[in-house]
Amino acid sequence: MAEPAQPSRALVVLRPGLQTTVQDAGRRARALGVPGGGAADSTARRLGNALVGNPATVAGLELTLLGPALRFEAPALVSLCGAPFGATLDGIPLPLWRAVAVQAGQTLDVRGTPAGLRAFLAVRGGLDGQEVFGSRATDPRSGFGGLEGRALRAGDRLTWGAAALAPAPRALPSPEVRTPFGPHHRLRVLPTPDLTPALEGHLCGPVFTVAPQADRMGVRLTEAVPAPHDPTRPSVPNVPGLVQLPPDGRPILLLPDAGTHGGYPSPLVVIQADQPRLGQLRPGDTLQFEAVPLAVARQALMAQEQALRQAETALRLHFASV
């Protein structure tokens, strides 16, 4: 018996944007030298997925600085969360931070953002893509994951998973949960054994500027500090949010695609609660490091998680009832 023709759940890339990649919650294969990967602003990823009724970890598109234009071949429920990108759906302004129903044949056109750097476009059902070590996150440097291990190009076609279409929830996540964007940032940090009193004076307090070299591996800062130099230093594992000091003294903040090991002194680590902010650091933004006790880091994470879970739970109830 012939199957009834199914409309294919697909979108076509009309314009790729600057660096648009499939991202999810990342992978766990550091022992093979494989970076964690995943959406650089995890809060945008979680809320975006919750808004369309997806599990928190599924794949969507991460947009950077200039968004893509996408034509949908099938009806979809989408959300765009993150930096305040200008976007339209068939010419009508698309609200951020809420779920929006897209009709087959409509074009979602995401332009630039005046502040911040990235947004996460979630599609109900979750985007398909090459799964490597348990994740569909694109690692462009190694060329795997997502769509052929690379950023989108015009003409690409992306599909998404089956999920019953649902009406858009009316609930909106409260603005306080969202990741703040620039132009000025305060990043709370914890010291490592590499931090000396002198280095702390140079790093914690003074204002740094985000350099143009800011990608998914790391964000360079333009102002140099006196860096300890030890060429015999062994390579040790990196962790997300680590602040490295290469010999030129210009700090590097590590993002999800950073190599798993590094040999530079690393005097600070950005606290978990502030790591989504790293994904919104835009060249030209300024930032200051603020050393905090572990208890403050813990409290900040708990408070953030509670707010996020509240938003997720409210949205989950909506989708459970449809």
Partner: protein
């Protein structure tokens, strides 16, 4: 076995220093403690990445301490032997030979006589830190790293030897090139070596 030492790294990682890092990592993979997200080994240490909403450094330390007390009974997976065909024509080969006080041919012969061991993987997918260089053959890293080291480059850096799985920046001295693929997702085992494996270099005619 001397007791491990512990040091938090930020609010979501714990560095465990122990000569038995490899066995410890194997044990933690088999019986992951609650909240453990990932683990990255290095020489004499393993860094545990955890979810601070589910555990903390102190609780993880306790689990590791109790796992550690029974580690000696663990059987390590059998070491494998890999032979890498290498064309010794790297741009730094003459410099390295001079640094070692050898002719290029003698340096190549000395390198091919060694048995390396995979100490741990890290840096980029499939990159293995190979130990086994005697001090006379250890090379200082470049003062300024090359912006692009070709994939397949066989390199010496400090106490290590290695093969770059893909083109990346790199500060080690390039002595040769191999067709050996250290990372290939089309294979059932994308990364063909693991800690403990033994590696020999075999000179190919360039």
């Amino acid at each position: 076995m001397s007791a491990p030492t512990f040091e938090p790294l930020g609010d979501a990682a714990l560095v465990v220093r122990t000569p038995a890092a490899r066995a410890l990592l194997a044990r933690l993979w088999r019986q992951p403690p609650p909240g453990l997200l990932d683990a990255a080994p290095a020489l004499g240490q393993v860094t545990l990445l955890f979810d601070p909403l589910h555990t903390d450094a102190a609780r993880l330390e306790q689990v590791v301490r109790s796992a550690y007390s029974t580690l000696t009974a663990e059987a390590a997976p059998p070491a494998r032997e890999l032979t890498l065909p290498v064309t010794f024509s790297g741009p730094d080969l003459p410099w390295c030979a001079a640094h070692a006080g050898l002719s290029e041919a003698a340096l190549v012969e000395a390198l091919c006589a060694l048995t390396f061991e995979v100490a741990f993987l890290g840096f980029t997918p499939g990159f293995a830190f190979l130990t086994g260089l005697p001090p006379a053959l250890q090379m200082p890293r470049l003062a300024a790293p090359r912006e692009q080291v070709p994939a397949g480059s066989v390199a010496l850096g400090g106490p290590w030897a290695g093969v770059y799985p893909r083109a990346t920046p790199g500060g080690w001295r390039l002595v040769g090139h191999t067709a050996f693929q250290a990372f290939d997702l089309s294979r059932p085992e994308p990364v063909p070596w693991r800690a403990g494996d033994r590696v020999r270099l075999e000179a190919q005619r360039g």
